[in-house]
Symmetry: C2
DNA sequence: TGCATTGAGTGCAAGGTTGCACCTAGTGTA
DNA sequence: TACACTAGGTGCAACCTTGCACTCAATGCA
């Protein structure tokens, strides 16, 4: 009754893949950034150098995966916060309120700092890795949208997409500003800066998305 | 500086092999004997049924390997006892004495009981497995001979072989008798029976191998 | 006796991993 | 500028594992 039908190959391949990802994460933690080569990574993962490229078309893809894995815990927390709030009526205001509240509560600065650590600091020498940040946030956006639609099956899909895109796109924008200003620090001042930026974002989106308060 | 040159393939293959052996040992422990099929073993080892036969030409070979692994600890103890005794002059008497002493001290009944458990009890239904017992003892003989020759580089090789063969062959003989009489028990009475048989063996070999005492 | 069933063992093709040779772009240096 | 060197990435053949279909011998049963 083991997973005989479910192809043991798939499980083993996934295990190899996560072995590589784990090794990369560990090395990043130790070095404070992705400052290592394929050979070193392969040796750490006890895997052939060739196998690394069999699983990931490039190192950037691997780093992106590490990013997403590291972000996953924060995203899970973020979505859990939304899930814990009572269900609204599926209207614009209900969806907006629950997302905004979760954004206030979730430790997004920590998540962003994680990305920065992975991608090499607030002022990375090579800008090639900027798209990775976008890609990481893009996955978060997808998950958030899915959660919102799950919670509000009757909601207008287009409106939900616009809302989530606006908010998450804004998060990317204010993340960059926040990194510029604070360097990704996690002290009280930096967190205050984040709250300021977040407040401006939410106010902006509310103004454009929700009807003006009477 | 990892084992890059030493072919990672060999290491991985060895690991797979020991995974299978471990699974077999565990199953034997649980069932009290090798009362399981290839499919169950493969599932337990999380390995393809085909892979089992890629590593072992038959289940008997696998059982033999489990035997040897289980025996290894006792054999190590046995050889360690010999190694701890002071080096003699390399003559017949010196070699005989140190082996005989180790045989007295080592817990051979436990080793034999282990084999019995693995091979299915003192009165196995199928006699096909009898050769496995001989094979297991044969490996022990090889190791003992190597150890003796290592300790006595100047010894006559033929005489050392004859001595070890005689003693170990005798061990096989009295093991069978011991199992017949005691069923492989490990209580005081059974151990006394073992000591009786062993004394007769050693006396026999001494009479034939060493010159009569003056 | 005839027949179905079970379990050991094999042949084979498909797919994953590995080592090696190789290509290429970027970088340091004379 | 020319050259060497490093490091990411690819092509390829060899090897290992796996699932599947198959054979064969033993056992159980009508």
């Amino acid at each position: 009754m083991t997973r005989s039908t479910l192809d043991r190959r798939a499980a083993q391949k996934a295990e190899r893949r996560s072995t590589i990802v784990d090794a990369a994460r560990d090395l990043i933690e130790e070095r404070g950034g992705p400052t290592f080569g394929v050979d070193e990574l392969a040796a750490r993962a006890d895997v052939s150098r060739r196998t690394v490229f069999n699983h990931f078309p490039s190192l950037d893809d691997l780093f992106l995966t590490v990013c997403e894995d590291a972000l996953a815990v924060v995203v899970d927390d973020f979505l859990a916060r939304i899930a814990r709030t009572p269900l609204g009526d599926g209207g614009r205001s209900a969806m907006f309120d629950e997302i905004a509240a979760a954004m206030h509560d979730a430790d997004l600065p920590a998540a962003i700092a994680t990305i920065l650590r992975i991608l090499g600091g607030p002022s990375p020498a090579d800008e090639r890795k900027a798209p990775l940040t976008d890609a990481a946030f893009s996955r978060v956006t997808e998950r958030l949208l899915a959660e919102v639609l799950r919670r509000h099956p009757a909601a207008d899909v287009l409106e939900a997409e616009l809302l989530v895109e606006s908010l998450m796109g804004g998060i990317v924008v204010i993340s960059r500003h926040w990194v510029e200003r604070t360097g990704g620090r996690l002290d009280a001042a930096a967190r205050a800066t984040w709250q300021d930026l977040l407040a401006r974002l939410i106010a902006n989106v509310r103004n454009g998305y929700l009807p003006a308060a009477p």
